[in-house]
């Protein structure tokens, strides 16, 4: 297979891994102000993601650096073009990172509240901007003939892209709630399940609407046929609807699998709609950045392919082991679950 296409697919895969994993810990963060009824439950929610969030965020670092190495022109245009948006992402991610480490360093309730809100705001803000940002790659931004962004911060906001942001916030909140139903016990678990039921309806509706619009945008603004973008879009909608069904059927394990799948398929829809471009230019469509034009030379791609072939499976393996180590539900009396992930968790 052509190495450039391989790297385009791999970068889509890295973003998918990032959103699948950090998606649920963003979701847990967003639910922090709403679900728990006391400090103990709040700590339990933190504990469900405490051991893994840093490993999850690694995928962002890898996705960013892989873009730099494999598609330098894309990296340069995207990161300088999304300047203030990325500044906001960094701000939200930083307050979130330190909230994990610092919250428990004092017993003061005000101190803990500050970092709880920092985590919630960071999770919400970062999700919103990632959604808006990814939607913009496809919707199109003003790019000049040198490949530089020529718009302003406000050009990032249109009806479509803002809906993209809202969709991702809802999808991650839903994903986080299904994660909580398989990682907590008792009362907290019951409330997470109730939240999942409420969120499932809204998330399914909005995601379905947004992805349909995405296929239309791909056709209108990126010169694509309806097929293939419709394929991942349809599968994503199917996944989120199944998630809804499983949530109401109290099959929380399967519901979590489906929200994870919906997240991956959302990324797949965006990237399928983009190809062979990596960033659509609008109004001057001819200035769009393409996979061919933005990529590194053959030698770098071969080198990076060898590195990825060795390390991506290795990282997946030890991160998988981490999830295995911390598979036990977090609850008052630390009940051990069977070694295999429960197909139907949730007591509520």
């Amino acid at each position: 297979m052509d190495l450039q296409i391989f790297w385009f697919v791999l970068i889509a895969g890295l973003w998918s891994a990032y959103f699948l994993l950090e998606g649920f810990d963003f979701g847990v963060g967003m639910l922090l102000p709403f679900l728990p009824k006391d400090e103990r439950e709040r700590s339990q929610m933190f504990a469900t993601i405490g051991p893994v969030w840093d490993g999850n965020e690694v995928w962002l670092v890898i996705a960013g650096a892989a873009t730099f190495a494999a598609f330098p022109a894309w990296y340069g245009t995207m990161f300088s073009g999304f300047y203030l948006a990325l500044l906001l992402v960094l701000f939200f991610l930083i307050i979130r990172v330190v909230s994990f480490e610092w919250r428990d360093k004092s017993g003061s309730s005000r101190w803990r509240a500050v970092w709880m809100w920092a985590n919630a705001a960071g999770s919400f803000g970062a999700s919103l901007i990632w959604g808006i940002g990814l939607s913009n790659l496809l919707y199109g931004l003003p790019i000049d003939s040198n490949g530089d962004y020529s718009g302003t911060f406000w050009d990032l906001f249109s009806g479509y892209t803002v809906l993209g942001g809202v969709t991702i916030v809802l999808l991650f909140a839903f994903h986080g709630s299904t994660y909580l139903t398989v990682r907590t016990t008792g009362d907290l678990c019951a409330r997470a399940a109730a939240a999942a039921r409420r969120l499932s309806v809204v998330a399914a509706l909005v995601l379905a609407g947004f992805l349909s619009w995405t296929v239309a945008v791909a056709v209108d603004r990126n010169d694509k046929d309806v097929f293939p973008p419709i394929l991942p879009a349809a599968l994503a909608i199917a996944a989120v609807v199944l998630a809804l069904v499983f949530v109401f059927a109290r099959r929380s394990g399967w519901a979590f699998v489906m929200t994870a799948l919906a997240t991956v398929l959302w990324v797949a829809t965006v990237f399928t709609s983009l190809y062979p471009r990596v960033m659509v230019s609008s109004p001057d469509f001819g200035n769009s950045l393409t996979v061919d034009g933005a990529s590194s030379a053959h030698y770098t791609l071969v080198l990076m392919t060898v590195v990825a072939a060795i390390f991506v499976p290795l990282v997946l393996l030890y991160q998988g082991w981490t999830y295995h180590v911390f598979r036990a539900r977090v609850g008052g009396d630390e009940v051990e679950t069977p070694p295999l992930a429960p197909a139907s968790g949730g007591s509520g």
Binding site: R40, S43, Q44, A47, G50, P51, D54, G55, E57, V58, L60, V61, I62, G64, A65, A66, F68, A69, A70, P72, Y75, G76, T77, M78, F79, S80, Y83, L84, L87, L90, F91, L93, I94, I95, V97, V98, E101, W102, D104, K105, N146, D148, Y149, F153, S296, A297, Y299, T300, L303, M304, V307, A308, F311, V312, V315, T322, V325, F326, V330, E334
Partner: protein, 463 residues
Amino acid sequence: MTPLASTVVDLARVQFATTSLYHFLFVPLTLGLGPIVATFQTLWYRTKDEKWLRLTRFFGTLFLINFAIGVATGLVQEFEFGMNWSVYSRFVGNVFGAPLAVEGLAAFALESTFLGLWIFGWDRLSPRLHLATLWIAVVGTWLSAYFILVANSWMQHPVGYKIVDGEAQLTSAWALLSNDFALRAYLHTILAGLIFGSILVLGVACWHFLRGHDVELFRNAAKVALIVAVPVTLLQLVVGNRFGEAVTSQQSMKIAASEAQWDTCQPCSFSLFQIGGFSEDDQTPSFSITIPRLLSYMATGSFDGQVQGLTELQRQEERKYGRGNYMPNIRVIFWSMRVMAFAGVLMFLVAALGAWLYWRKKLERARWFHWTALVAIALPYIAASAGWILTEMGRQPWIVQGLLKTSEANSPSVSTTSLGISLGVFIALYVVLGVVDFVLMRRYARPDRPASQEEMPEPAVSY
């Protein structure tokens, strides 16, 4: 160059300098405190003596508070290349992006994942496996430093590339990874990390001696710290000096600037201190203290070596690259080099004194030394910051030595307003983070803290 463009470049430079210097306040402590904490835990695993467990938890907490900001500010560095330096990013991506991506995949993933396992794995993993997770995380941090320095060193001394259609393309991964500059910089950085870690542990132990709190326990910590600090601070003086030799052949202008050496000399004396002599119109210092022949030795390894002067180098560069100013800011480079070197010598003296007092069994009672060691915690921070100022500002006007100028490498699409906003946000955020970090580090390091707080958070429920 229009005045506006220079403002954009200046702002982008100030921002990169601020964020990277800040980032590097936390990184070396991670590099050096990690293996020391792992050593404590290994001693506990071997001897089952409670004191090592207490030290593991005590310094483990400091390690984690510090680590969090290192991670948070590291993310900024990765984004900043593309955000502020898009022309640079396109020019170097083929070469420079690769080590960054490898760092993420092979190193950062390792340290982040295994540190999570270590923090929360106390009662989920066997003691042996739990100890292994910390050592693996430490290996991750050391690998991480290597790949980042490979990337940075390529900017100082580009190797293994060819220029095709106005961009650098990698031709040899081996040349990139075995870049002489990178290997020297790596050794220098790892030693710096170990100095950070050992000087901090020594200082905190002395703080406890000063208050007469837990003296027995912290004598053990001080011992381990001194075993690390004495050889490492000494070795660093040698390594730093040899590093200078490599720079002489690869970045002659940087060395000439760090000595404010205007005329080519042979043999050359080293100026310890001088007033004036930092500009073309004022080349002779009005006052100076010099050591004969020392500069020749430091720059070339021979007491009779020749060092090229700034004037001659400037003429050479103009012949090679066209008209322009190829000299960095002489005054800044001269003093940053000295601040780094003097701090380095001081740290060795502190370590050596401490070892002597320990050997004479006076360490716990020498109050003057306790204060010295406590204040000395600041020295590695000063030395490392000065070292990076020397390395990065000494490369100017180049962003990639000899290939791309800093003034032509910024993002054309980013306005002064955007840069101003982001600089303001970073400074405000970093000040808050710095204050909180300092307060927390102090609280968890102080001698009179109630014993119950000494414990690191237990997993899950008490998180």
